[in-house]
């Protein structure tokens, strides 16, 4: 059980770290959104799963509450994350920020 928790925490930390690196490496707002919202979501899923397993392993009222709360947090993370990043991207494009080094921009052609 402990091994599983450590493996999940390691995967979570790796992908969250990659998300942070992506923020520094990528050139513009859209590509940074890829790193900052997607990699960190995947990382957070595994971090939260580690908490859930820890909660169930601990057992009892306290552990169960911890696990259920973590699961609810996961559900809302999965619901709000795409909505938020979509709003950021659409706002940026409407505000006139063009994708950097883009090979094609169909949304620009529509206007």
């Amino acid at each position: 059980m402990n091994v599983l928790i450590y493996v999940f925490l390691a995967i979570g930390a790796t992908f969250n770290g990659l998300g942070a690196v992506a923020l520094l490496r990528f050139p513009d707002v859209y590509t940074r959104l890829h790193g900052a919202t997607k990699c960190t979501t995947f990382g957070s899923i595994f971090s939260i799963l580690a908490v859930v397993i820890y909660g169930f392993a601990k057992g009892g009222g306290e552990g169960g509450t911890l696990a259920v709360h973590a699961l609810i947090a996961l559900v809302f993370l999965l619901l709000t994350n795409p909505t938020g990043s979509h709003a950021l991207a659409r706002g940026a494009h409407r505000g006139g920020i063009r994708p950097f080094r883009a090979v094609v921009d169909r949304l620009e052609e529509r206007k």
Partner: protein, 171 residues
């Protein structure tokens, strides 16, 4: 669907979620009386505000239980697998910096708001693709793609089997 039914369904859903969130708060069964009354008032308000929007175009299809099972299976199976693969791909691009970004357009042919929302959220949650805009009239998706392989792609090239699943679940 008539207005009263829309309102009642939305209120019932809000109340159920609220009661789940405040479980084990008191002596009135599982809930304290104050929480219960607050929940009733909030659910009635939520029904008034969101009832029309929620069921406007095809949302009532999700009342069929087999669609919930399909949705759960989709999230845990094909979607999670695609997400894991795409994450490794983006991790590779973060480290090497080999990107070819662009906004592409494709039409998955989905008719309902629910199906489009499901597909747009799936696309956005998958690393490497990000829905920037959806044309309400034609159903065109404008997707920011981190590694453009075709300037006029088919839906399968951008997001694999997601449109098929969105149609199966929501239409």
């Amino acid at each position: 669907m008539c207005k009263a039914a829309e309102w009642a369904l939305t209120a019932a859903f809000s109340l159920a979620i609220y009661l789940l969130l405040v479980l084990w708060t008191g002596s009135f069964g599982l809930w304290s009386p104050a929480e219960f009354i607050a929940g009733l008032v909030l659910a009635a308000l939520a029904g008034l505000v969101a009832g029309r929007l929620l069921w406007e175009r095809g949302g009532f299809r999700m009342l069929q239980p087999h669609r919930w099972l399909l949705f759960l299976f989709y999230i845990l199976g094909p979607f999670f697998w695609a997400m894991a693969k795409a994450n490794l791909d983006v991790a590779y691009r973060v480290i090497t910096g080999r990107i070819r970004p662009g906004i592409v357009r494709f039409n998955p042919g989905l008719q309902t708001d629910l199906g489009r929302t499901l597909l747009a959220n799936s696309i956005t949650l998958t690393p490497g693709t990000l829905t920037v805009d959806v044309d309400d009239a034609t159903g065109d998706f404008y997707v920011h793609w981190i590694n453009v392989t075709a300037e006029d792609p088919k839906p399968e090239q951008v997001c694999g089997a997601f449109p098929t699943w969105a149609r199966r679940i929501a239409e």
